[in-house]
Amino acid sequence: MAVAREAEPVGSLHEVRQAGLDRADLLRIFRDMLLTRAIEERGHILYRQGKIPGSFYTGRGNEAASVGVAMAMGPDDIGAPLHRNLGVHIVRGTEPWRIFANYLGRTDSPSRGRDGNIHLGDARLGLIEMVSHLPAMLPVAVGCALAFRIREEHRVAVAWFGNGASAKGDTHEAMNFAGVRRLPVVFICDNNQWAYSTPNALEYACETLADRAEGYGFEGVVVDGTDVLAVYREAHRAIEKARLGGGPTLIETKTMRMEGHAVHDDASYVPRETLDEWARHDPLDRYRAWLRHQVGMTEDEEDRLSTEVKKAIDDAVARADASPFPDPDTLEDGVFAAAEEVDAPHFR
């Protein structure tokens, strides 16, 4: 039997207002979810056109989980989002053209062409760049939380991982250390059911991954990752609890990876009917229906948002494409940092 708490779905507008969101926030959440999906859809097209080198990863199905958590973070909090969490970058303010520039390997991208796809961050926005070795960013986020605790700052670190990464030792070490020291960190496990081609039955044997939190001495919560407002409510609760010294929380968002591991992967190993079932809970459709019903979002408003997003994408791709490729002569630049760089820390 599961020991983690199962979060209730969000129902009425009244409930949402109690959680601290007004109408503008609610529409902004929708816009950020639309933008997240639209960037990845355009990226997919660019990849097929041969414009994006390497591979390309999307987070289709995970937009609500990403946007919901990021909306709950404070401006001085730090996050280490992963490759299904583009929505976190969007909410925190990463400009879409810089995301496309990173996809395209251009010199004005956050990684200056040193790293690809969604391996990007921005110190000014409190975002740390992921590495491919999942879940290596969990101990790093715990270190941010440790620094906040040492300096007695009321800041929180948010660390993402997935059902696949849950099987690796970094997860255990990070959570155990965070639990022992009651550090201000919130762990978000986006459980999208598959780790590349490996189903959850071959990744773990407990009922829910959030159950493990109990073993580390903190609370575990399972939330429907297609319900952006439920995700927001649980993330907000956990982040504010951590901020007040209440220690870590593990939130497991139940989602579905609606596309392959990367775009080369047709995910034929995922049963068609499973995808059809999850498609009926598409996070954008679900939230759109809620907004129409509860907030009275009009077709005009929705059209305006869609037009705004489409223009944002067109502008972003054009601006990214105008950025040149890096000069090969800069290949060896930046392996080491210079002394003066740390006198003004990148991250506050």
């Binding site: 990684s111 986020a141 939380a145 070490e173």
Partner: protein, 324 residues
């Protein structure tokens, strides 16, 4: 100047950095209340408190990963691996995350990982290794291997000041055996500047860490035969002082590279190759290497003694080279 052991010099250096810079904190296993497996941080928790001398669970990945996170938000962590051997448990955090962070993301990771290394006391395969060459191959990491109390203190200050991840290999066999005068005030020793441990004209002996002292004893022994040996202590491997090595070889025309780490792929190979590439015309003999054989570090004393390069081995190689 006060006389300090190699270990005391490390403690002094750490304490001095912590007093002058409140961003510096220590993290590791048993370093706080217990004062560290080797007592390097004895008494530190009383002075600096529990959160600046932080005992962790047994978890090297968490320790090094936490250092990176704390460094990214402005602190200056100094981690202790209880033994250098255990750094393998934290490989990903150093090699995958910390070392590549500045190149790919442009943000500095000023962390120091202290690694008590080396053999000579029957520590066996898991408490005696010198894993520096594994990390020398990773772009983005710096490596210091002090051989004297003064260097131990000065290189530690530089390591903590450095905006990059630094592995600081402190040789356990020197901890209490080696003493010397060390300035009381704070000082730094720049990375990438070799130190001439002994001047000579006939053979250049390039080494670092505890082997500097094996080299010195061997040089003293062959001095009686009229062989003049120049010992160059590299002090840091990344960056390493190519100019000093090539300059010394230019003078002596003969080179012996010595290290306690195993031979194949050891850092001595890089030095030997560099001499061959850039000082070929200066050489009067092939470059020689003395290193541990390609085995794990054995436990039993006669085996370990055969494993670690000895004064006799070095003296014999110096005589061979001088006679070449």
């Amino acid at each position: 100047m006060p006389v300090r052991t190699y270990l005391q010099a490390i403690s002094d250096g750490l304490r001095q950095e912590m007093r002058r810079d409140e961003r510096v904190f220590l993290i590791g296993e048993d370093i706080g209340a217990f004062g560290g497996a080797f007592k390097v941080t004895d008494g530190f928790q009383q002075e600096f408190g529990e959160w600046r001398v932080l005992d962790t669970p047994l978890a090297e990945t968490a320790i090094i990963g936490a250092c990176t996170g704390a460094a990214l938000v402005g602190l200056r962590p100094v981690a202790e691996m209880q033994f250098a051997d255990f750094i393998s448990c934290g490989w990903d955090q150093l090699v995958t995350v910390a070392s590549k962070q500045h190149y790919r993301a442009g943000t500095a990771v000023p962390i120091v990982v202290r690694c008590p290394s080396g053999g000579g006391f029957s520590g066996g395969p898991f408490h005696s290794q010198n894993p520096e060459s594994s990390f020398a191959h990773i772009p983005g990491l710096k490596i210091a291997c002090p051989a004297t109390p003064t260097d131990a203190k000065g290189l530690l200050a530089s390591a903590i000041e450095d905006p990059n991840p630094v592995l600081y290999f402190e040789h356990k066999h020197l901890y209490r055996r080696l003493k010397g005068e060390v300035a009381e005030e704070r000082f730094t020793i720049p990375f990438g500047q070799a130190r001439v441990h002994r001047e000579g004209d006939d053979v250049s002996l390039i080494t670092w860490g505890a082997m500097v002292h094996t080299a010195a004893d061997a040089a003293e022994r062959v001095a009686g035969d009229g062989i003049s040996v120049e010992i160059l202590d590299l002090r840091t491997l990344i960056p390493w002082d190519r100019d000093a090595v090539l300059g010394s070889v230019g003078k002596t025309s003969k080179a012996l590279v010595l290290h306690e780490d195993t031979l194949t792929g050891g850092f001595g190979a890089e030095i030997a190759a560099t001499i061959a590439e850039h000082a070929f015309e200066d050489l009067d003999a092939p470059v020689r290497r003395i290193a541990a054989p390609d085995t794990p570090v054995p436990f039993s004393p006669p085996l370990e003694q055969r494993f670690i390069p000895q004064i006799d081995d070095v003296a014999a190689a110096l005589r061979d080279l001088a006679a070449y």
